[in-house]
């Protein structure tokens, strides 16, 4: 072949190659199949599908979980405020998120159960207000009508009643223009079918903030709190979640009771006492009568001191008849020395005798006996105190109380107490009068007249006591009006100086207490302040057993 022909042949070949390599860039009359190469990042599955709402600025109540609530979704024409139902059913609340359960739409069309289940994004904040996106079918669609998709109005925490901190209530949103909507949530219950919240019609005020606390069934079951609690100030009872400082026994919530000197009442119904506690009856305020089982778990931190001679009660079981309250059985934290209360003169002599083996420089009032005591009534004036749990196992341990009782005015009554599975106390006999109803008060109840007197006067100089006596004499007329014989006894007693059984002379007269606190006769550091005490209580459960 000639060289020229060879070159032409190569040129033709080159052109052919050029054409074929550009076959995808020029139409050939047939479909070309282009290769697909996709970066892994773009090909990865997107798991974040669903209506988006920015919850980042909200304090979501991740501890809120409820087994079942009722709900109804309505549309509301403004300004007529005529609500029309769109859907109703049940929902659960899990860690602050709403999960829709079985429900029905009345709108027809495209509405079915899946839309709320898969396309809602709703969360509660810590004030029980609802935020997020909810799919709503706003039209009623008849057969054959053009199907329409859901709208996604935003919920921005608008709620009635405004102050109600539970998730129950009507959560309002704007659908569009002159149409609003709402999702009303009600009748939230725990798995046992017990209502989770107090009657939502209760009105709340700053003076009785305890009423704002709705004790959830995470903490308490089978019992209901009397709404009439007063004498409680802010943060004395808190619902807490587990954190570095606080403890809970089980679940997501617990109760924390905190009382210090500033929160004690001077006086409290004529007595130097105060505290923070619940007042519990049966479900729906059912009277506690007959056979019951009362369970509760109590945790006393190490930082909570014993404060004898003050009486500190963790649980009080009280019989109420009219306005009369009788202590039937109290569970007490610590106790004062056993010598105290047996007659002050004899006690003092015993205390001072060598045989007692007690440090002479320490008064009986200083001696705190730690542990858990049961206080029961011996007679009208006296009580029995029985140590049921030792001091070395009391603090920094959860104590699971299991109390079986037959509350009755007949001799077959009983109260049996177990702590952590161990039987620790048993009483047989009448446990209430015929007309009494039982109220159980877990928390921190404190009677502290003895404490104040002792700790104020023990270090007082004779001049200070004389000064105080003069102050009291100055109020003698007021004291006389209140209790003439009592006032003279106090004054005379104070003139004695030294250690004395202050309780014996009923020196906890409220006027004396108030005067003691306000008196200029004592240095401020001399004036006794009640130490702060904290206890945690959780897993309260009442159960009728007959």
């Amino acid at each position: 072949m000639s060289r020229k022909l060879h070159l032409i042949k190569h040129a033709i070949f080159a052109i052919a190659v050029l054409v074929s390599s550009q076959s995808f860039a020029q139409e050939t009359g047939s479909l070309g199949n282009f290769e697909i190469t996709i970066d892994e990042d773009f090909a990865a599955e997107d798991t974040n599908i669903g209506p988006a709402f920015d919850f980042s600025k909200l304090s979501i109540d991740t501890g809120l979980s409820l087994y079942r609530c009722n709900f109804i979704i309505r549309r509301i024409k403004i300004p007529e405020e005529k609500p029309e139902p769109l859907a109703s059913g049940n929902l659960a609340i899990e860690n602050g998120n709403i999960r829709f359960l079985e429900h029905k739409w009345v709108t027809g069309g495209l509405a079915d159960e899946s839309i709320l289940a898969t396309s809602s994004n709703l969360k509660f904040d810590k004030n029980g207000k609802l935020f997020g996106l909810i799919p709503v079918f706003p039209f009623v669609v008849s057969v054959g009508e053009l199907a329409d998709g859901a709208r996604y109005p935003e919920l921005q925490g608008k709620k009635t009643p405004e102050k109600l901190r539970t998730p129950e209530g009507a959560h309002r949103f704007n659908l569009q223009g002159d149409w609003d909507g709402e999702i009303e949530i009600s009748m939230c219950k725990n798995e046992a079918g017990v209502r989770a919240f107090d009657d939502s019609k209760v009105r709340y005020s700053a003076e009785s903030p305890i009423a704002d606390i709705h004790v959830l069934t995470d903490v308490m079951a089978g019992a209901q709190q009397d709404r009439s609690i007063v004498h409680v100030q802010d943060n004395m009872i808190q619902i807490i979640s587990a954190n570095d400082e606080d403890v809970i026994r089980h679940g997501s919530y617990g109760l924390k009771f905190s009382v210090d000197d500033a929160q004690s009442q001077y006086p409290n119904r004529g007595k130097p006492r105060g505290g923070a506690y619940l007042k519990l009856r049966g479900p729906y305020m059912q009277p506690i009568d007959g056979k019951w089982r009362h369970k509760f778990s109590i945790f006393v931190p190490e930082t909570t001191p014993y404060i004898a001679p003050a009486d500190v009660y963790l649980v009080k079981m009280v019989g109420i008849s009219g306005s009369k309250h009788d202590d039937i059985l109290n569970i007490k934290l610590g106790h004062r020395d056993a010598l105290v209360g047996k007659g002050w003169k004899n006690r003092l002599d015993n205390y001072l005798s060598a045989a007692s083996g007690v440090d002479k420089n320490q008064t009986p009032y200083d001696i705190n006996i730690g542990g858990i005591f049961v206080q029961t009534k011996k007679n009208e004036r006296r009580y029995n105190f029985d140590l049921i749990w030792p001091a070395n196992k009391t603090r920094e341990n959860w104590l699971d109380f299991d109390v079986e009782a037959n509350w009755t005015d007949t001799p077959d009554g009983y109260i049996i107490i177990n702590i952590n599975g161990q039987p620790v106390f048993k009483f047989n006999g009448v446990t209430k009068t015929r007309t009494q109803t039982i109220e159980i008060k877990p928390g921190l109840s404190r009677s502290f007249g003895n404490y104040l007197h002792f700790h104020t006067f023990i270090g007082a100089s004779p001049d200070q006591l004389n000064c105080f006596t003069s102050e009291l004499e100055g109020f003698a007329s007021e004291l006389k009006n209140r209790n003439p014989s009592l006032s003279m006894r106090i004054i005379n007693f104070l003139k004695l100086n030294g250690v004395a059984d202050l309780a014996k002379v009923k020196a906890y007269n409220p006027l004396v207490i108030r005067q003691m606190k306000n008196s200029s006769c004592f240095e401020s550091e001399q004036k006794a302040n009640l130490p702060k005490q904290v206890v945690y209580i959780d897993e309260i459960e009442f159960q009728k057993t007959d």
């Binding site: 190469t37 773009f42 090909a43 054959g144 009508e145």
Partner: protein, 383 residues
């Protein structure tokens, strides 16, 4: 007779959904028939924006300002607009396909004619009173359609079993277009009835101009459509209509009106898959648009009506992913302005009908598209 223009009618709604093809009463869909979803993109989808041919050096020359920066590369020659973040995953999983440089054989660039052509399946506008999907369902023996106002031409067939139901929206007293049109036609053109007709005209205008109760979210419609179609006795076909692709100005690139609408299309695919659940395996969804857009940007940073565009398909029925094109030379634009169409999109629709409704291609070509020479490409699109 007063007639409401299609343009004003369709602009009344952001999107719409219609179900078609229910099994006969008492019979669940027991065959291997697949499901078909047509996503009508009104206004003209810019195929070069949706699937830019990044391997073609002419692209940058023509469209520098319209080319997204964050394209998703799907190969050496093509990319996807970043709005298609969900569609690309389907492409990666063998559940989506792209047909490029395609169009119905209609080149006059009119919305109304073009929309009629792509729905009727006839290359001559306003000749056919039925749609290609409707005729296909007639062939497949599917009946019992649920109709409503504004029933798409696409779904109309010849079989007289359609049931029309009057509108009955409780709480809504807006007059409907059909009602006003019926009233208007009743009174004819007599001089004596001019006042009445003017009143009816005014009512209709008020209805058109009044703010609608709610806008419609096509992605959510798609979710619901999928759920309905997943039911044993659910519809076998659905038509979702999306508007606002006619971006004559400020079209945008990565973002902008066209990007927003493409994101809607993406969300429709994603939500269809979600709603269909297991039925996704037996479904194909395809886009349908009247034409593409000009290759070059106009003076208003937008594009005008064009010719060749892209078709997007998705669904488990495909069996594989493909990017198919007989790529035209972009130096030789159609009438010096448009991407040429080298694949008749009717063939793509025919392929989908063939596989979804288990029909013969030849029958589809002659009876659905009235073109016995229509190319069969189902083997290239479907497994």
């Amino acid at each position: 007779m007063f007639s409401l223009s299609r343009r004003t009618f369709t602009l009344s709604f952001a999107s719409s959904l219609a179900y078609v093809g229910f099994p006969k009463f008492g019979f669940a869909n027991a065959t291997n028939q697949g499901k078909l979803v047509v996503i009508i993109l009104e206004g003209g989808l810019d195929g070069l924006a949706a699937v830019p041919p990044i391997g073609d050096p002419q692209l940058l020359e023509y469209r520098r300002l319209l080319l997204p920066e964050n394209n998703i590369k799907i190969g050496s020659f093509f990319a996807l607009h970043p709005s298609f973040s969900g569609f690309v995953k389907m492409l990666a999983k063998g559940e989506a396909s792209i047909i490029h440089a395609t169009s119905f054989p209609y080149t006059r660039r009119s919305h109304f004619e073009g929309q009629n052509v792509v729905e009727s399946g006839s290359i001559n506008p306003f000749v056919e009173k039925t749609g290609w999907l409707g005729r296909a369902m007639d062939m497949a023996g599917l009946s019992g359609r649920a109709m409503a106002l504004g029933m798409p031409l696409l779904a109309r067939g010849n079989v007289k079993v359609d049931n029309f139901f009057p509108a009955n929206l409780k709480g809504s007293f807006d007059p409907t277009i059909d009602i006003t049109r019926s009233l208007s036609s009743y009174f004819g053109n007599a001089e004596a009835h001019k006042t009445i007709k003017r009143s009816i005209d005014g009512v209709e205008r008020k209805y058109q101009n009044a703010p609608k109760f709610f806008s419609r979210d096509p992605a959510q419609l798609a979710l619901q459509a999928g759920k309905q179609m997943n039911k044993d006795d659910g519809p076998v076909a659905a038509i979702i209509r999306v508007h606002d692709f006619d971006t004559h100005s400020n079209q945008g690139a990565d973002s902008g009106q066209h990007a927003d609408q493409m994101r809607v299309v993406n969300d429709i695919f994603v939500n269809l898959k979600k709603g269909l659940g297991p039925s996704w395996e037996n479904t194909v969804a395809l886009t349908l648009t009247e034409f593409g857009r000009t290759v070059r940007m106009n003076g208003s940073s937008g594009t005008d009506h064009g010719y060749g565009t892209v078709g997007l398909l998705a669904g488990g029925l495909l069996g594989k992913s493909s990017v198919l094109a007989d790529w035209p030379d972009m130096k030789k634009l159609f009438e010096g302005r448009d991407l040429r169409s080298t694949i008749d999109y009717r063939a793509v629709c025919a392929a989908c009908i063939e596989r979804a409704f288990l029909l013969d291609h030849k029958a589809i070509a002659s009876k659905v598209f009235f073109d016995p020479n229509l190319k069969k490409i189902s083997d290239q699109i479907f497994v």
